[in-house]
Subunit: 115 residues, 2 copies
């Protein structure tokens, strides 16, 4: 845990969030500024700053993000309608919290073109 | 391999694509309709239709997508500028090829709000 990281604090139960899923590798909670009817953040429990810092040892936790997304989409009943998963890295990506996180957005039609 | 899947054919070297990275679990190639200066698709070598079909056995391959994204971003020299990773699932996500794929988009500022 990085002591000044808000997502590490949420993982540890030391900061308030609406947690919807947690297992040994990842934790998911609702985004406080949702951009769609469903907007959930899924994070590795271990602090990884960004995709640009991901190492081989993180492979399982990073894969688990997708398995958690599938489960949460079923819980949210958006598995049929569909959803978009987004991970931002660095300035052009628009990353604002420096603990790697996957956005799960659904309940509306996503824009095309993407990006 | 699913015989009518274009991405399976690219993985197997049986369909034309500009492959930029390949290892034991994933293959990456340029999107033929790029939405940014860098637009690369990273796919598991094994056929997984969508995130909604991902199983525990796919965890390593799905994690590897991120590790490949990191490597490719370094090759494309967008690791400092940043990038966005997107995986679409189902109609609302806008998924059009039914072999799970991660979009790596960079070289420009991504839109906000996302989705």
């Amino acid at each position: 845990m990085t002591t000044d990281c808000i997502f590490c604090k949420i993982v540890a139960g030391e900061a308030k969030a609406e947690v919807v899923y947690q297992d040994d590798l990842v934790t998911a909670f609702r985004d406080t500024h949702p951009v769609g009817p469903t907007h959930i953040l899924i994070v590795p429990n271990q602090h990884i700053t960004a995709v640009s810092q991901a190492e081989a040892q993180h492979e399982s936790a990073l894969g688990r993000l997708f398995l958690a997304a599938r489960k949460i989409a079923e819980m949210e009943q958006i598995q049929q309608g569909g959803y978009r998963l987004i991970v931002n890295t660095g300035p052009n990506g628009g990353q604002t919290v420096f603990h790697l996180h996957m956005h799960l957005i659904g309940g509306k039609r996503m824009r095309y073109p993407m990006g």
